[in-house]
């Protein structure tokens, strides 16, 4: 369904105008005020340089007439493997984890393939930027934040060394099937599971202590051969300059991780957080933000309420916990708006849902001054729609990344057009 506006936006690709005026739109700035009817947004050199009514197009500017359309900040998938994983079942097409448990020196973003089909597919539904991350082991690497457009990963990178992914250990008691025997990886008693957990936490402590020693040694002066890239990589996190993305789901582990990072003086973002609502008061008190796992997930336990996962975002919002939604995938990144929408019938206010896929992830990741709202000075990552972007039937009619109109075409649409035309 190619609408006139989409054609217009695609037409601007060739011109690659530096200055664009989008006019007469309903502008949802998400900056606090009500949507601005009949307003315009001026984009210059990748940034938003004007928002409001009666803006004039400077000479030579591209004008996009958007009467009856809605302009929103582009959607931000707060945790994904976009650009890092192409085909799920084919390992060689995936660069999402490295061998070994401690790899804080790895940068996810240098493995981003700008030609990944998943980027264009996500764009077609209004996703303009995303966290893309390596997982696995304990410290999997530094997550990146990327624009979903660019000639190289370097051009795409909003932040190269982002938050460090940390898989928080879990106390898990295994029940063995007949014929299986207990081993150190699968403890069958609480006592053994707790011992394993304590050991794993101690290992994280040892790495952090090692990095602190290293910092001291570095101050005293290191010889070239004494540089330890893993410990070196931990320094900005120890200094509180960058946050850790701590993946934990159960209440006990969430509480432990919060206490641990506080004690160690580290900045923490909780990732996953299936049981986050059970620790909502603690998370609110300590101002720990959360990047939630997909809302369209089964409740973790058989005796959980059927709507446990759907209702959790509403509970967190009511408790004053700041959170963002994420898909944790590449291929499903386009469903991000529906992960947010799924919480609305179960108690999350609609404007909070929208902010949790635009403004809040930017703020949580320390990018609130650059992304997340439609305000002067911010990076022009925007979407133009024919309605509410949380409703499935709404069409994305225009998409701007770093101030450039980017096509919403992709392989899937091309296959559709090709086979629709089969005689």
């Amino acid at each position: 369904m190619m609408r006139p506006i989409a054609l217009l936006v695609m037409g601007t690709l060739a011109a690659s105008a530096q200055t664009i005026l989008i006019r007469n739109a309903t502008v949802h700035t998400l900056a606090g005020e009500a949507p601005l009817e009949g307003a315009s947004v001026l984009i210059d050199n990748g940034k938003i340089t004007g928002v409001g009514r009666g803006l004039r197009a400077p000479k030579g500017a591209e004008i996009i007439e958007a009467k009856g359309k809605h302009l929103y900040p582009g959607m931000f998938d707060a945790f994904s493997v976009l650009g890092l994983a192409e085909i799920g079942a084919v390992d060689v097409t995936r660069d999402v984890s490295e061998k070994g448990d401690f790899n804080p020196q790895l940068e996810a973003v240098i493995g981003v393939n700008p030609e990944s089909e998943h980027l264009a597919v996500a764009r077609a539904n209004g996703i303009t930027h995303a966290v893309t991350a390596m997982t696995g082991g304990v410290m999997a690497g530094q997550a990146g934040v990327i624009h979903l457009d660019g000639w190289t990963w370097e051009e795409m990178a909003i932040e190269r060394g982002g938050p460090l992914f940390v898989e928080w250990p879990a106390i898990r008691v295994y029940s063995l099937s007949p014929g299986q025997s207990a081993d150190s990886k699968r403890p069958t008693t609480f006592k053994a599971a707790k011992e394993k957990y304590d050991k794993e936490v101690a290992e994280i402590v040892a790495w952090l202590d090692g990095a602190r020693q290293y910092a001291k040694a570095k101050q005293a002066g290191l010889k070239p051969g004494e540089v330890d890239r893993k410990l070196e990589a931990l320094l900005p996190y120890l200094a509180g300059e960058r946050p850790l993305l701590v993946h934990a789901d159960r209440e006990r582990e969430i509480r432990d991780a919060v206490a641990f990072t506080e004690e160690q003086g580290l900045k923490m973002i909780l990732l996953g957080g299936e049981d986050a609502a059970k620790a909502k008061d603690l998370l609110a008190e300590k101002s720990i933000p959360v990047i939630l796992g997909p809302t369209q997930s089964l409740p973790p336990r058989e005796d959980d309420a059927y709507d446990a996962v759907y209702a959790q975002p509403g509970e967190l919002a009511a408790a004053g916990v700041k959170f963002a939604f994420a898909t944790f995938t590449a291929s499903d990144s386009r469903t991000l708006p529906y992960e947010a929408a799924a919480a609305i019938p179960f108690g999350l206010p609609k404007d909070e849902a929208l902010k949790a896929i635009t403004r809040y992830p930017a703020e949580i990741l320390g990018l609130g001054d650059r992304l997340g709202t439609i305000e002067e000075g911010k990076i022009a990552n925007l979407i133009l729609t024919d309605g509410d972007p949380l409703e499935i039937t709404t069409q994305i009619e225009g998409l701007f990344i770093q101030g450039k109109a980017v096509s919403t075409d992709n392989k899937q649409r091309r296959l559709y057009e090709k086979y629709r035309a089969r005689p």
């Binding site: 085909i87 529906y338 019938p345 949380l390």
Partner: protein, 431 residues
């Protein structure tokens, strides 16, 4: 069970008649009726329209601002199945999903909470010819036999492509050609088996003495396919394997009832339509394996426009909870109408399973399998309030919330009892 809940249960679960009034009735078969009522009697839809009134003694549910949608039908699920794949043989048509149903599977209840009332429970995709499939109704908490959709035709699972050819076993098949070959070989044996029985029956009828052929449960199911008594549901992805199966079926003389997943169905839509197979696909999953790399979210719409009977399925205990939303995606990607989209998860899968005389739309005489939604069913902002199967309430949001409170109290009590019995030193932290 508290008195209040008990009272509600006895009142709501099995009334003589129930009238849902002032609702928007989304019939799927004949449009949407505003401010209308629907009468349930004897487990069936007895009447519907603007002037339907409650008979004496009927329970009346006021559904102002609410929508009634036929119960969602999922043409591909493994819910309630305790075991899915018999993967030790290439042809496992002797095994049946009917034998491994667990009526207490919590996924049944969660599906009810998404407005689902019927599902086709399939064998897995480990073999070119898999096990026998069965259609169930979501009568959660009844025994396994009561789960069965009485009168629904039995099915059988076929599987093409990566799943049946992969695996470490050094046995046939290991290629798409091999998968096709296994199916051909099995049907040739089934035809010989059929002929042997025919000879035997003829001999008996002529009064001659004859030995009956040895009964073969594996081939019996395939003979039923040849006779049109068992529906073939074929898991497939790529256009080449779909076309090869259609040609094989045409040659041997059986029909494929539904192509399942059929992610490249849009590439051979005319061939599928000509064979008369239905297509049951995902809304937008793609890229999880090579054969899913050309999947497009326009598939359902494109196949519909080419004259194929299409449904959207879940193949997932999670996805089954929001099939209404999956249907809405075909409006966005491919431009189906709202009625066409809703049919993808109600009337069309019912037709594919040949149970559309019983379920799939709001029509007089059909089973009262339906759900009350608090808003338009294609909207992300809507949720299910009450789900009926055969006119009985099997899910109700208000009842559910009351039961939760009771469950919490019961858990608390059990924990207290447990803590009281334990020496404090061995206390484990609460999970």
């Amino acid at each position: 069970m508290r008195p209040l809940v008990l009272a509600l249960l006895t009142a709501a679960l099995a009334p003589a008649a129930t009238l849902i009034q002032n609702a928007t009735l989304v019939t799927v078969s004949h449009g949407t009726l505003e401010k209308a009522s629907l009468l349930i009697e004897g487990g069936k839809i007895a009447a519907l329209g603007p002037d339907v009134t409650a008979p004496a003694g009927a329970t009346v549910i006021d559904a102002s601002d609410h929508y009634v949608l036929p119960g969602i039908v999922d043409c591909h699920s493994h819910l309630a199945a305790d075991s899915i794949n018999e993967s030790s043989v290439a042809v496992s048509s002797m095994v049946s999903m009917e034998d491994v149903l667990n009526p207490e599977d919590i996924s049944i209840y969660r599906a009810l909470a998404g407005g689902v009332t019927t599902a086709n429970i399939l064998h897995g995709s480990a073999n070119p010819i898999g096990g026998r499939c069965t259609v169930i109704k979501m009568r959660w908490g009844r025994d396994a036999e009561r789960l069965l959709f009485q009168g629904a035709k039995p099915g059988i699972k076929f599987a093409l492509g990566e799943n049946p050819k992969r695996g470490s076993k050094p046995v046939h098949p290991g290629s798409r050609q091999g998968v096709n070959d296994v199916i051909r070989e099995a049907f040739l044996r089934a035809k010989a088996y059929q002929a042997a029985w025919k000879d035997y029956d003829a001999a008996r009828q002529a009064g001659r003495r004859a030995l009956p052929p040895r009964r073969d449960l594996q081939l019996e199911a395939l003979a039923e396919v040849l006779e049109g008594k068992r529906l073939v549901h074929a898991h497939c992805y790529r256009a080449d394997e779909i076309l090869a199966l259609i040609r094989l079926a045409d040659e041997i003389g059986f029909k494929i009832r539904t192509l399942q997943h059929v992610l490249e169905g849009y590439k051979v839509a005319d061939e599928i339509a000509a064979h008369g197979a239905g297509a049951s696909t995902f809304s937008d999953w793609w890229g999880y394996k090579v054969e899913a790399y050309d999947a497009i979210p326009y598939n359902a719409a494109l196949m519909t426009r080419r004259g194929i009977l299409v449904s959207i399925n879940s193949d997932s205990d999670e996805e089954i909870r929001h099939l209404n939303q999956e249907a809405a995606k075909t409006i966005k990607w491919g431009g189906l109408s709202e009625d066409e989209a809703l049919a993808l998860v109600t009337l069309n899968p019912a037709k594919q399973l040949m149970i559309d005389d019983r379920v799939g739309s709001l029509d007089v005489g059909k089973d009262a399998d339906l759900a009350i939604w608090d808003g338009p069913p294609l909207s992300v902002y809507s949720k299910v309030l009450t789900t009926f199967v055969d006119g009985e309430i099997f899910f109700d949001r208000e009842l559910d919330r009351q039961r939760r409170i009771e469950l919490t109290l019961e858990k608390q009590k059990l924990l207290e009892e447990l803590e009281g019995k334990k020496p404090s030193a061995e206390k484990e932290p609460a999970r």
